[in-house]
């Protein structure tokens, strides 16, 4: 198993090196415009490997933990999580059941699925639910695949499942909350310095606005609203460790996962750091966090009732 894992890691590093070499030789040495950062389809695949290496690195460092066990239950939960995420993404993406956006905040309730599955069933189930579910969801809408965003969704579920690695979940909570608070603050500072940048995640179909409108104040501070909701859940339900931990770790997963995808667009699409944060990260991570803070506790409570009933 160990040899196999090392083999996989080496293979991924080699493929990543080949990609970067192609970009370096084609883009920098030969001057091929399409291989330079800015509009580089190959870098999408490079970031897939970077995302996988991050997940494998965490696994390698803690591989003795029972959180990494994959038995029959995990296989079935992986499939259920991925299928639910794909179906909800498809249904709520406006193709069937249109959830209106409010003040430029597009709603993606499906994000609660990888977070819940990650928290309840472990990081591998969370990663699979997010990554494969997003891939199938994209395929169902027929709009092609965005592999680095699939990996980013996988990372959301993966990080939401990391509390299983900690013996004392309560201790880790405040550190995670602190880290989330600092990242939220940094994103907000970047937003307030660059308030006129467009919201690139906003598609207002009725008014023909397609990502051009400057980001609204609500979309800009939605991450703060989400963080405030997380704080409420953390401290109002502080005695219920499951509720507090699911939402807090889900918050970190959401910030780091969406942050990974948004920052990758600095290289893939040539965005500036403020454009990536204000135009992509905030309008996606903020609403996600609001959904996580409200829907994940509902799922955790409902699942607990099922566990009690079934005795499993």
């Amino acid at each position: 198993m160990k040899n196999k894992l090392v083999g996989v890691i080496i293979a991924l590093v080699v493929i990543l090196a080949i990609f970067l070499l192609l970009v370096y030789i084609g883009g920098n040495v030969m001057g091929v415009e399409r291989l330079m950062t800015g509009e580089n389809p190959m870098l999408r695949f490079a970031f897939v490997i970077v995302g996988l290496l991050i997940a494998l690195g965490v696994y390698y460092g803690t591989k003795d933990s029972p959180a990494w066990e994959v038995g029959t239950r995990q296989v079935v939960w992986m499939a259920i999580g991925a299928a639910l995420y794909a179906v909800f993404s498809w249904l709520f993406n406006g193709t069937v059941f249109f959830v209106p956006s409010i003040s430029q905040v597009a709603l993606r309730p499906a994000i609660a699925i990888p977070v819940f599955f990650g928290y309840a069933f472990g990081p591998i189930v969370g990663f699979f639910s997010g990554a494969v579910g997003n891939m199938f969801g994209d395929a169902l809408t027929g709009f092609g695949l965005y592999p680095q965003w699939s990996i980013a969704n996988g990372l959301i579920g993966f990080i939401a499942g990391l509390p299983l690695l900690f013996k004392d979940r309560k201790k880790s909570l405040d550190s995670v909350l602190g880290a989330g608070g600092v990242l939220t603050l940094i994103a907000l500072v970047i937003y307030f310095i660059n308030r006129t940048l467009p919201n690139m995640m906003f598609f207002d179909v009725p008014n023909n606005v397609f990502g051009d409108a400057p980001i609204s104040i609500f979309a800009g501070i939605s991450l703060l609203v989400g963080f405030a909701l997380v704080l409420i859940v953390r401290f109002a339900f502080g005695k219920d460790l499951d509720l507090a931990a699911s939402v807090t770790w889900g918050m970190l997963g959401n910030i780091l996962g969406i942050g990974f995808a948004a920052l990758s667009d600095i290289w893939i699409n040539g965005y500036s750091l403020p454009s990536a944060i204000v135009g992509e990260f905030l309008p996606a991570a903020g609403p996600n966090l609001i959904f996580i803070a409200i829907l994940v506790p509902l799922l955790v409570v409902a699942y607990r009732a099922v566990q009690k009933q079934s005795g499993r």
Partner: protein, 290 residues
């Protein structure tokens, strides 16, 4: 109860091949399409997709719904890109005006104007060719891939047993959960839940989605116990898995895989030499005064 995709055995070009060979070809096709914005290159991909569609044996009646959904979605978004120019600005910097159509009326002092440029028009064509090629090839998969071969196909593509089986189950669960969602939606409607009128602030809206998402998710988890028991009873995961049906590559499968690899390699080579970026015909630019 599991609901399945509308697969049936057909005499078709796609089903003539081993599903692993077709999936490899599909992956190469998909990656290759992503490299291009030039409609001349995209036309090749579109032609392959169209050929696959026309020889698939899937009738219009069978695939009408997904095609209308996805096709409508693609056309609307492409049209919006055409109207606003948004999306193409990374592909072109200068626009050559063909016509500017101003509405004869004003809305609050603003006159709606449609700016038609060569670049916007060609970007829309390229976008349609690109996205429809991907959509056609993707839509065909559930209609042409035998559900009983999902697992062995993914295993044959090199995935470990457990991941292959998880992928197999994912594909099988998608139509089932789609049906469950519809049933839940109908049940909630019968209780007076007004899905079409989800209103209020953002937190209120999120809360109102709970009665849809929570029952479908929890029902799926409860249902999973039966599947887990069935798999455990058959000693799933105890040793290397065997599959009821075996797949063997034929010569035609190797040819298809080679064709996919050649397609991807050719795309990559063209990309390396700077081809495939957004293109508009010179003649059109001259016509537009460029």
């Amino acid at each position: 109860m599991l609901v399945t995709w509308r697969y049936r055995t057909r005499k078709s070009f796609i089903q003539w091949f081993d599903p692993r060979a077709w999936m490899i070809f599909y992956a190469c096709f998909l990656a290759g399409t992503l490299f291009f914005w030039d409609v001349r290159f995209l036309a090749v991909f579109f032609a392959i997709a169209l050929f696959s569609l026309l020889t698939s044996g899937v009738t219009w009646r069978e695939m009408r719904r997904p095609f209308l959904f996805i096709g409508g979605f693609i056309v609307i978004y492409t049209f919006l890109t055409f109207l606003t120019g948004r999306g193409g600005e990374e592909a072109y910097k200068v626009e050559h005006l063909i016509n500017k159509l101003a509405a004869p009326f004003m809305i609050f002092g603003w006159r709606p104007t449609l700016t038609i440029t060569v670049e916007r028009s060609f970007f829309a064509v390229s976008q349609l060719a690109r996205v429809f090629s991907i959509a056609i090839m993707t839509i065909l998969i559930p209609y042409t891939l035998n559900p009983s071969l999902y697992g062995v196909t993914f295993r044959g593509l090199g995935f470990p047993d457990k991941i292959a089986y998880a992928m197999d189950l994912t594909m099988r669960f998608i139509p089932t959960f789609g049906r469950d969602f519809q049933l839940t939606m109908d049940a909630q409607r019968a209780r007076g839940y007004e899905l079409e009128k989800i209103s209020g602030g953002i937190i209120e809206q999120v809360r109102k989605l709970g009665p849809l998402i929570v029952p479908v998710t929890i029902h799926a988890i409860i249902g999973s116990e039966d599947i887990i028991d069935a798999m455990d009873l058959r000693a799933f995961g105890v040793g290397p898995r065997t599959w009821l049906e075996e797949l063997h590559y034929q010569r035609r499968d190797r040819v298809l895989i080679a064709a996919g690899i050649v397609l991807l390699a050719a795309s990559l080579t063209l990309l390396m030499f700077g081809y495939g970026g957004f293109w508009v015909p010179e003649a059109l630019l001259r016509l537009a005064g460029g």
